[in-house]
Symmetry: C2
Subunit: 465 residues, 2 copies
């Protein structure tokens, strides 16, 4: 062990858990290093949430321009410079990654590019990168290595015919046709994106509906909208006999006892994630695992003293905002800055159009638990702002407990759903009742009024429906 | 008194106070009439908030299209069919007005088009319209006649050279140049709109800054943005010697001891409102007034038993959402459905770009009251969602009390500010502390994260700055 440096904390992984944990430790005045294999910001910032939102924004604008005559414009021609669309998303990712690198400096975080391996507790070895071979001695370790897209067994990503989200984000041409396997958030976002730019898209989902974690009403609504937009959506469907050859991908889509042969230029596999644990531990370190994820207690402590873990690597829900929250809590806890808290609830968002956002239980969940509840629903067609903006597709659905009237679950689909959900999230945090939401004056005209009206609607007091 | 009908409530005025009050009474099973001179929905829906939002949305899209190359598009030509832009906004207003008429039917509200006069308490006379001469006997009266735009003394609106918001909303051509007098919400919205479509716009404001009710930081930021967008903005400026002749309007703009001659095709007067009380009362009814507004107590009761008032007619803040709230409270109170509540706070919104939204006190207010406070600020340049959407102009500024940490005031400028403010509004209603907002998991990537980060920033715990 030649070169060693001594840290209060070494964070392994520079994604939303890792960088946030490292920055938080820096804020607390700790000596901290963050070791990241690729680039600060991790998958989310470089190959996930952020660049995909840039692509989706371009797709939305393109769709708006195609329908600009509705707004009073005659647009001559619109040429899509697809490489430039992708370039912009890459440059947004690049800009944000630089931002994280700046924050590392500002908070005195040593940012090390390379792969890290926990050699023994208290000692991290750099096993790749410029500083390969160095050892970092540290009081605490935070594992935040995250997850990567899962591939179907037997298939190999080639970035052209077979892709995950990562490859499609870096692809400079639009596949003429694409089969999207998996109708979760990622699958639905790329399906929307590809279709918006004119690709011929088929979504194949094993479960009986798109966005299977969402409320049934929302799944139904979005599926209908997707079909209206021209996508083919197959639910309750298994893909078998996938073959990749001759510039095309083919598969058998089996729905019940019917089989349909699908063919496309490309296949996007969006069937979930797997943990990044490769070479994370030397064979001198054994951590208790839960399936393939690192097991932690309520304070984000692993089974080995001084080693913590947070983010996707500790298992679902695999969401950046949950990962950040966990890492900040873990770091607060390890440095005695308050009791770390596990998350109680979190919003989930899908950024296709119509957007989807939710928090808490679905009506299906509530029924399964045999809870007493009331539902309030408010359609955006009744919102003046939505109509004025020509964005009246969608609704707000609020489920409140009976008789307490507190939020059990909230489900929004439509314009800005992903922004609007924040109000309900805060409401749940503060145990707001439907009356308190209804009694809060909401600015007119806004989409947010629909959240107030849905609250009122749980007790038939909505004015505009 | 020939024909009389007997009501539990007659509402005079069909705007956001009037129609909401009438619908609420209908929900409570009361026999109610709503008398409206023009069209259901009132100024807000027909000649204010709603059609202006339609125009602004078109302006935003036009600006986006002009810069579409930033997103990766080459747009051949964009012809603005200005009459169609305006037509769309009229048809949105028409659609929403029909919606109110539908809600009247659904809630069994008798909708009467005409002008109403309170003849004596308990008796309303229809003094214009198809049913002119009829009397409505009623247990209660709710005055909700609202306000109209104020004109400068000596000037006459002609819809072409001299306009208020009402006239410009119905104008089918774009003035080549326009002086906007008044940099409040309405003035700033139309100034943005006209400039966005290529009109040469000068904003003249008597106060020392634009949006004088907003926080100083916001006013400064928006003024700077407006100037960057090409508008001329003159603050601390009085307009004198206004002349309207020869197809042009001229005036002397006096800033301190400097005078500049301004000339434009049109003048938009956006200097505030005046109460609609013409012919409201017969000479047998005397109501206590406060300046020109109807005076009410905390239960929205006027000085005459059985006569209530709500909305703009009882005075500032002249906001649709406050009007609706007041009317619903008034009606709940008059029919013993809970204690009516005065409003405690309300959001204020301006829909120019960058948007502005706020609630509670400005920093100036807080200082004047010598309160102890902390400020947290988060710029949208540090928001991944904002950067991805190319909407990173603006910031969130949160002012919290010390040591309680509750929200004293919140100020947002930038994309979707008018939607985002709802979260802080609910937070204030529930007496949320900065820690509770910071501790609420916000979806990533969203603009709403900036509200969480601003809360964290009040105590230097923001991750992304």
């Amino acid at each position: 062990m030649a070169d060693t440096s001594s840290y209060d904390l070494v964070v392994i992984g520079g994604g939303p858990a890792g960088y946030a944990g490292a920055i938080r430790a820096g804020q607390l005045g700790k000596k901290v290093a963050c070791v990241e294999m690729e680039r600060a910001g991790g998958t989310c910032l470089n190959w996930g949430c952020i660049p995909s939102k840039a692509l989706l924004k371009s797709a939305e604008l393109y769709q708006k321009m195609l329908h600009a005559d509705d707004f009073g414009f005659n647009v001559g021609s619109i040429d899509v410079d697809f490489p430039k669309v992708v370039e912009r998303s890459r440059s947004v990712a690049n800009q944000m990654a630089k931002g994280i690198e700046f924050l590392f400096k500002k908070n005195k975080v040593d940012y090390i590019v390379g792969q890290a391996q926990i050699n023994v507790p208290g000692m991290v070895e750099l096993i790749s990168g410029d500083r390969k071979g160095e050892y970092l001695s540290t009081k605490n370790i935070l594992i935040a290595t995250g997850c990567r897209a899962r591939m179907l067994p037997g298939l190999t990503k080639d970035g052209k015919q077979v892709m995950t989200a990562r490859e499609i984000l870096d692809r400079r041409d639009l596949p003429k046709s694409c089969i999207v396997m998996g109708a979760g958030a990622i699958g639905m976002e790329f399906a929307y994106f590809l279709n918006a730019f004119g690709s011929d898209v088929t979504v194949v989902e094993m479960m009986d509906r798109v966005l299977p974690v969402e409320d049934d009403d929302v799944s139904k609504f979005v599926e209908k909208s997707f079909k209206k937009q021209g996508l083919k959506v197959m639910t309750g469907t298994k893909a078998e006999n996938i073959t990749v050859a001759d510039g095309k991908v083919t598969l058998d889509a089996m729905t019940g006892d019917k089989t349909e042969k699908l063919e496309a230029e490309s296949l996007l596999v969006a069937i979930g994630v797997q943990a990044n644990t490769d070479k994370l531990l030397s064979n001198r370190v054994k951590l208790e695992m839960h399936r393939n994820y690192v097991k932690v207690d309520a304070h984000y402590r692993t089974s080995v003293k001084g080693i913590y873990a947070a983010g996707d690597i500790i298992g679902p829900p695999w969401l950046a905002h949950v990962a950040t929250y966990e890492a900040v809590q873990a770091v607060n806890g390890m440095f005695d800055h308050g009791e770390p808290r596990p998350y109680v609830r979190f919003p989930g968002c899908t950024y296709c159009q119509p957007q989807v956002a939710s928090i808490g239980m679905t009506e299906r969940d509530v029924k399964a638990k045999e809870l007493k509840y009331k539902v309030g629903k408010f359609p955006f067609t009744a919102s003046g702002k939505a109509v004025a903006a020509m964005e009246s597709e969608g609704f707000v659905k609020l489920i409140v407990s009976e008789p307490e009237g507190e939020i059990l679950g909230a489900h929004i689909t439509g314009a800005e759903a992903t922004e609007l959900i924040a109000e309900y999230a805060l409401g749940m945090e503060l145990e707001a009742t439907w009356e308190e939401i209804h009694g809060t004056i909401h600015a007119h005209p806004t989409l947010s009024e629909a959240l107030m009206e849905a609250a009122a609607a749980t007790h038939n007091e909505a004015i505009h429906i």
